[in-house]
Assembly symmetry: C2
Homo-oligomer: 331 residues x 2
């Protein structure tokens, strides 16, 4: 088992202040590792980076079509959104449209990351609700599937038909049995896999043909929905939205808690998965940007790239403090 590779460095005053190591794999459509750093076999929780895998049953089952879901809704089903009005409103209308409501969600409530939405709640003395949870779009997809197949309301229970369907799909596209699951922040089971397994799943999505099997078509559609609606996948100012926009809708990417990041590159038929071992998102964002630049799909000088990599960091008074850059030998 290889040690984690140094990936991202935080410099201040000409000295290295902090550093981040991780594992990364670039996989092609045959499941072959093209390049890797650290240990491709490291077991990780994909967390929210695998939401497009968790959305496969929604489409494959026919539920998405039965309820006439739009591509924007499919993007939202793969989202870690920031609870802006755009997101919470869309989830509310979605659930209303299938005859369900906020109380049917099982994701829990947290303060929206979106400042405008947050301040609006505070000014009106309202508590955040489950619509604001960053995973509420995924859960709307979960409820749509559950309603379609007529299953019970506790859709995050590991033995619920939905979670069993997700596990099957997850293991098939990662091409490796999951060694176990954890309970995610949103209460859904999150299946573990290897970095290589996750990259293999992304390469599958990248290569899935529009007119193949039901799963191929679902993967094709989810990838295009994410890339076409970056604002639904995360939100203003966020890495997923900004970097997907910077790549002009040609690549789908997704972050996960504890510093996981994945990318689906349809033109190249490549998939990427990476995990920073310490769980720092600043590092996973810099690392994925570095790999996307390396593969020629992201402009190193785009403001969305420079926000995360190789640009001077500034403090509260705007003074230069340091720089975030890739470690020598990585990407």
């Amino acid at each position: 088992m290889a040690a984690a590779a140094q990936m991202v460095e935080i410099w201040r005053g000409g000295l290295l202040e902090s550093s981040h190591a991780g594992h990364a794999v670039i996989c092609d459509a045959s499941g072959t590792v093209r390049e890797s750093w650290g240990d491709p076999d490291a077991v990780i929780f994909p967390r929210s980076s695998c939401k497009m895998l968790q959305a496969l049953p929604l489409i494959e089952s026919g539920a998405a079509d039965a309820f006439g879901l739009t591509d924007a809704q499919l993007a939202l089903s793969c989202a870690s959104h920031q609870g802006a009005a755009l997101h919470s409103g869309a989830v509310a209308r979605w659930l209303d449209g299938i005859g369900l409501g906020e109380a049917d969600l099982r994701c829990g409530a947290h303060e929206p990351y979106d400042r405008t939405a947050r301040d609006l709640l505070i000014r009106s003395d309202q508590a955040p609700c489950q619509y604001h949870n960053n995973c509420s779009g995924k859960h709307a997809g979960f409820l749509t599937y559950t309603k379609h197949i007529g299953a019970g309301p506790e859709y995050v229970a590991p033995d619920h038909p939905l979670q069993r369907a997700i596990k099957d799909a997850f293991e098939e596209v990662t091409q490796i049995p999951s060694p176990g699951f954890g309970i995610d922040g949103c209460s859904a089971p999150n299946f573990a896999t290897t970095v290589q397994g996750l990259a293999r799943a992304m390469a599958y999505f990248a290569a899935a043909p529009e007119t193949g099997s039901a799963r191929d078509r679902a993967a094709y559609r989810l990838t295009r929905a994410m890339a076409a609606y970056p604002e639904f996948v995360a939100g203003e100012g966020r890495a997923c939205s900004e970097l997907m926009r910077a790549m002009g809708g040609k690549v789908a990417i997704k972050t996960g808690a504890e510093a996981v990041f994945v990318a689906i590159l349809p033109a190249q038929k490549l998939g990427i998965a990476l995990k920073i071992v310490d769980g720092a998102s600043r590092a996973s964002e810099a690392a994925i940007a570095g790999l996307l630049v390396r593969l020629g799909v992201l402009d190193a000088q785009h403001p969305a790239t420079l926000k995360r990599l190789n640009a001077v960091q500034r403090n509260w008074r705007g003074l230069e403090t340091g720089i975030t850059r890739l470690a020598p030998g990585f990407a």
Copy 2:
């Protein structure tokens, strides 16, 4: 140079999800390393963990006594506070008392970490001011010194008499020349040193007699002020305040950005310094708690300890998700 030692592990669903490595040193009053993990000679920026060193000139110069500063104000001069009314109000009154105001600060403004203060600003459509900056107490001390010696207003400039005095004191108590400085979040120079150098400084503070040299008396007084007024050093819910309270005022501890933590143990005449290489505060808080438990000054079962170490983590719905614990072989 030794590699960083594994210190803190984040577990989920029975699997290791993330981990944190770092350097730590326990030093005695003679400057001898009692125990160490990782590389004692690793160069780090102490960031806010060295605020008690930055406060030495304030007392040694006679400025603190000339302006009649209380122990609560001295604690605030060593604080990374959360901008609660307690903190911002005390800084406002302090500056008013020495004939200065908010515009004289050079720390910049940021939203207070304290939720009540934050919500109050949002509800009243007010922007945060420099009083809310977590370093405003340190800067009030800086201004008090500057006023006392009649120096110019740009007190964070590296060649300002205050910063030169801080550098001299810093190098004397760390017993090693500083290899350079960075600009901190609050715009003050932050001098680099080794983990051992920082631990040596903390051991000096721990052993400083009440009736020794001007510096000894300053170090003695700052240590007691911090331990006696934990709520001024950080705030409700924060590690410094809660853990100092849990130790009954017998130990002074201080966090710094990018996962530095120090402790001053007067009864044992020991100093601790640690740095998590990836900069994650959740890990530096767990690691310092582990070392304080190991040294017998913190109860492993105290709620303040369990908030950071060996207690089950829960998600937005209160479900168990995992546990944060020390890595095997550390503390």
